[in-house]
């Protein structure tokens, strides 16, 4: 702050995504101004700053890799950044777009959806950033929130690694003193296998978590699937719980495929 030259420089890049995670910056409101006293924002299209090639200390990357062009672009971002942090489910695990990885009918879907499919140049699979370049830290969530973002930026500015909180949503749900929707209402909550960070948002509104923060540490998806079956969910419905926002995150991907193959209700693991 004393020496403007030394202000860390940051960039916010967008790949295939809905722009929602970038809102975690804009939602800071007045705090964003405060933040710019400590860092210099070089590139952030949504805020009108356009310098994608700038060398930066921290690059925040939103979105998955869905086109060949994006693969070239992420390599350049990596080269020009000291730390690269993915923000959100798309960048971190492929996001909703990765649903297309599941049925291998990329062309059929493209042709059915777009009026002029010949202009659409997408890869068959949507992939997380870490598939292509080294990622230093991941912020999970669909979308992420400002609290996570600030914690990560603050840690880096203080020169310590950000805290990778892999606890389950349930822990936070209880700290917030929410009433468990699975125990009281038989709702198929993914909280017991999902990473904390949202503040147990869905259970706070009487809803079951649908796993938008991705897999937690040590997720026992087999036991939870069995419990869902006990609540009356059919194998396809159990599969859909796991194969949604973070369908390409390995723990959810595998749980979804196992459920889809119909073996979730018993102990066989063939």
């Amino acid at each position: 702050m004393h020496n403007l030259e030394k202000k860390p420089r940051i960039a916010v890049h967008k790949f295939s995504s809905c722009d929602g995670c970038q809102l975690a910056f804009l939602n800071l409101g007045g705090d964003l101004l405060e933040l710019t006293r400590r860092v210099e924002i070089m590139h952030f299209l949504e805020a009108g700053l356009d310098a994608p090639e700038a060398e930066v200390d921290i690059a925040f990357v939103e979105g998955s890799l869905s086109t060949q062009d994006e693969i070239e672009r992420i390599r350049k971002v990596r080269e020009s950044s000291r730390y690269l942090i993915t923000i959100g489910a798309c960048a971190t695990a492929g996001g909703l777009q990765a649903l297309r990885n599941l049925d291998n009918q990329h062309e059929q879907w493209r042709d059915a959806i777009y009026a002029k499919p010949e202009f659409i140049k997408t890869l068959n699979h949507a992939r997380p950033i870490a598939d292509e370049v080294r990622v230093d830290f991941e912020l999970w969530g669909c979308p992420i929130n400002s609290r996570q973002l600030l914690a990560a930026i603050n840690s880096l500015l203080f020169g310590v690694p950000p805290i990778d909180d892999r606890d389950k949503v349930c822990l936070e749900c209880k700290r917030q003193q929410r009433v468990c929707v699975m125990v009281t209402e038989d709702k198929p909550c993914l909280g017991p296998v999902t990473r904390t960070g949202c503040g147990a948002l869905c259970p706070s509104f009487g809803r079951d978590c649908y796993g938008c923060y991705g897999p937690a540490d040590n997720p026992n998806t087999a036991s939870l699937s069995k419990r869902f079956a006990g609540l009356g969910l059919l194998p396809q419905a159990i599969a859909r719980r796991f194969l949604l926002i973070n369908s390409a995150a390995p723990a959810f991907h595998d749980a979804g495929l196992i459920a889809r193959s119909g073996v979730s209700g018993d102990d066989s693991d063939d």
């Binding site: 606890d167 009487g206 040590n218 026992n220």
Partner: protein
Amino acid sequence: METPGFLPMARLQTLIDTLIDDGFRCVAPQVRDGAILYDTLDKVKQLPKGVTQEQSNGRYRLHQTDSTRNFAWANGPQAIKPLTFAPREELWYSEVKSDGSLKFYQAPTETEPVAILGVRACDLAALALQDQHFQHSFPDPYYDARRKRLLLIAVHCTHPAETCFCASTGDGPEARSGYDLSLYETDLGYFVTAGSLAGEMLLHRLPLEAGDAALFAAARGETGAAADAQQRQLPEGDLQAMLFGNLNHPQWQAVAERCLSCGNCTQVCPTCFCHSENSVPSISGQSTAHERQWDSCFSPGHSYIHGITLRKDTASRYRQWLTHKFGSWHEQYGRSGCVGCGRCISWCPVGIDPTEELAVICKDSAGDSA
């Protein structure tokens, strides 16, 4: 026991009004989001009148009946613990001064007087254990301030849940100590006894009538029947020796197949005291708050030391939960850490019951425990 004074149903509001007049925030059970939760209350009609509950492994449901009683249910997910050991709180904060030095401040403690109406025997026993931990072993100013402001009004339990086993741990259903005032509920009103000087003084200001001895005997009989109705129990014998003699029992792995390692059992347990601490710097980078929050032996951070998480798998985490709660607590606090409230059974999303796990693990060694 001599027949205590009687507070007719219609006069229960007087008790609440007296508390409020004395400057207390009155906290009492209420129905919220399908469960009985403790929250601020000023009118009797906010109490869960006629509500009963049904609990089993991983299941909790409320039912409305036309009973006139306000306390015809067993405990919901939380009661006193969040009011003394806060789920998340600031311990201290620091800021950078203009000369570049750091200044540290202790966060203010909560002192607002709180009267809790409707405390159960299991929770009073749990509170006594938390007192040992936070007031004696590791004196904690935040806990101490919250604890000292409490006035506790017990209601002896007459409607245990299927998951309760306080009779087996010796902590209920009748509250024996730890309260200021206690109420025996009947269809017509409450028999009121005092358990402290503050309770005695409060009792004398209530519009009590002479109690009917037969009705009181029946009321006490209900707590006895509540004990007899309980199905679950802890294994007999030296649990600490049996648990530590069975650290390699195959059941640890068997329960880990079902356990989600979600920590719900520890979060609802009224005696669990584990917590983690972390810093929350302000956006300006000029100040930081230091917070503590409930943690659990099921979290990866709980056994994290110098770059490694010692208990990575669920079997070792589940084993930590049971060997501590039912085993090494004896060494630490002279008794088991379980007061038989049954919450960990009802609120486990997959319905794991520690009493069943203990029965399996301790069965094989009941002989070598001596």
